[in-house]
């Protein structure tokens, strides 16, 4: 065992005191107020569960797992979505879809502390399981925008893409998974030259290759979707994906959210997990995303209740950091406390209780 003093802290843990803790609670209550306002129900899932509930190669490597006394492999939750999917398919199996559920709490991951990311992350998020896809996508984006506004964030945008464009373009090309991954990684980096090389290596035929090459430049306002729908007309699945995005973007624009939306067809993270619309929330003043989400229509079938689903989460740590950098969303200072002192202990304690009943904030002082 590594030598350490008892007050040394392990890497990745955090501790919040007083004002900072109050700020976090305040941000949390504003965000959860928005979730409640859209009639989502809170769910408080367990802190640990069977390790195979949380699967997926990206997550497994970061999961704290341990063996239970009966020999089963357990894991501290590295995310909420798998747990919520499991609960929706199990305990809530009789509830009709759509299910609207939200959560707020810590997830634990082996992750080198970097860019506002710790081993212990506090996430506030929601999942809409089942129901109409386009309504779900639009609703989740609207809630994300309202949550950031309610928390006090300014100058933020939701960068919205659709993994079905990239995946759809490649659908009928026989490309090996490792080649798809190196291509995806270059598309995500918006590196046109790198994309071209990866396409050549994977021997992707011209019409598809030309289309994939354009993805790195297809970001901006809603007009890029018109361009995409023309350019990808030859591919049925890519065309469908663009049409979905156009419908959602039009609805958001009609609801006054156009300035908050930035279209980005190069947003192709989590291809093994997401199946449709994806987004990340960015704001001026913070170099990394404050949250994000997307559609994951395949996950729930793992648990035996195949429902399409969409969700998002905001990282409380990053949101608090953003508000601090933007100089916004400061917590209201705590009310001043009355000092109760001067009598003997019995008198003071009685008086303290009286004042508490009257709603005062009191400080029971030492001495007379």
């Amino acid at each position: 065992m590594a030598a350490h003093t008892l007050i040394e802290v392990p890497s990745g843990v955090q501790c919040f005191v007083g004002e900072e803790a109050r700020r976090r609670r305040e941000i949390e209550s504003r965000v959860l107020g928005v979730f409640e306002g859209w009639a989502y129900e809170e769910i408080i899932p367990p802190l640990f569960d069977y390790a195979d509930v949380f699967s997926g190669p990206a997550l497994t490597a970061k999961t704290y797992s341990f063996v239970s006394r009966d020999g089963s492999l357990l894991a501290l939750r590295p995310d909420f979505t798998s747990l919520i999917a499991k609960i929706a398919a199990g305990r809530l199996a009789d509830r009709p879809a759509p299910l609207r559920l939200y959560y707020s709490g810590e997830v634990l991951r082996y992750e080198p502390p970097k860019a506002g990311r710790q081993g212990e992350l506090y996430q506030m998020g929601l999942e809409r399981l089942g129901g109409d896809r386009l309504r779900g996508d639009a609703e989740v984006l609207a809630i994300a925008a309202e949550s950031l506004e309610a928390a006090g964030a300014g100058d933020f945008v939701l960068a919205v893409g659709h993994v079905g464009v990239f995946a759809g373009l490649l659908r009928d090309c026989e490309v090996e998974p490792t080649s798809v991954e190196s291509l995806r990684e270059r598309v995500e980096a918006k590196d046109e030259g790198g994309v071209r090389e990866a396409l050549e290596r994977a021997r992707v035929p011209p019409p598809v290759a030309d289309a994939v090459r354009r993805l790195s430049r297809l970001s901006g306002g809603r007009e890029v979707l018109e361009e995409a729908s023309r350019a990808f007309a030859f591919s049925e699945p890519a065309r469908t994906a663009v049409a979905e995005l156009q419908a959602v973007a039009a609805a958001l624009a009609a609801a006054g959210l156009e300035p908050r939306v930035s279209i980005d067809l190069g947003e192709v993270r989590g291809l093994d997990y997401y199946t449709g619309l994806v987004f990340r929330a960015f704001a001026r003043g913070l170099g990394f995303e404050v949250g994000g989400g997307g559609r994951y229509d395949a996950l729930l079938s793992r648990f035996g209740r195949p429902l399409p689903a969409v969700g998002f989460m905001l990282g409380l740590d990053r949101l608090a950091l953003l508000l601090e950098k933007q100089g916004r969303g400061a917590a209201r200072p705590a009310a001043a406390a009355e000092t109760v002192a001067g009598g003997d202990l019995a008198d003071d304690l009685r008086r303290a209780r009286e004042r508490r009943s009257a709603g005062a904030r009191i400080r029971l002082a030492d001495g007379r």
Partner: protein, 204 residues
Amino acid sequence: MSLTIALPKGKLLAGAQALFRKAELPFPETDGRRLVVSVDGLRFLLVKDMDVPTYVEYGVADCGVAGRDVLLEAGSDVYEPLDLGFGRCRLVVARAREAAAPAATSTVRVATKYPRVTAAHFRQRGVSAEVVRLSGSVELAPGLGLADCIVDVVETGRTLQENGLEVVEEVAASTARLVVNPASFHARRDEVAALIARLRAALP
């Protein structure tokens, strides 16, 4: 608020200056001492080549100029929308010309300034490698017995030749890139898009 651009103080600086001049964009006069310079609406940070991706990833700089070699090593989450074309070099594995070919099963000891790229390169080929991290004069390592081979950048190959080394294989080709922080790319879309367009138009 103006855009902040991280520039590498090393050998890519001259190429960056030529390109910015051609694009009629401001560029800092460098006296080597001032490391934060504002010129005509742009703010420049002059940092070590290897540190450019970090400044951009954390959003301290909105954009930066970095070699692909440095980006591969840093593994940062940044966009690379433009290949700027200059600073062309190759990241290669090199070893002593007269060295016997190492047995396929033995562990190779590799000296490098690029430990991440090196470890990944050998791992992907199924070769066990012990990576010795150096911060300069890597080409001396095989001759002095510190390592069996090196992974380093070469432009002309003359330094390798002078040290009795030869290229065994290429790990990656590299050129200078414009890198952009994803949050800046979206939250300051118009300004960033304008900068990209100006630089793109000035590319040969």
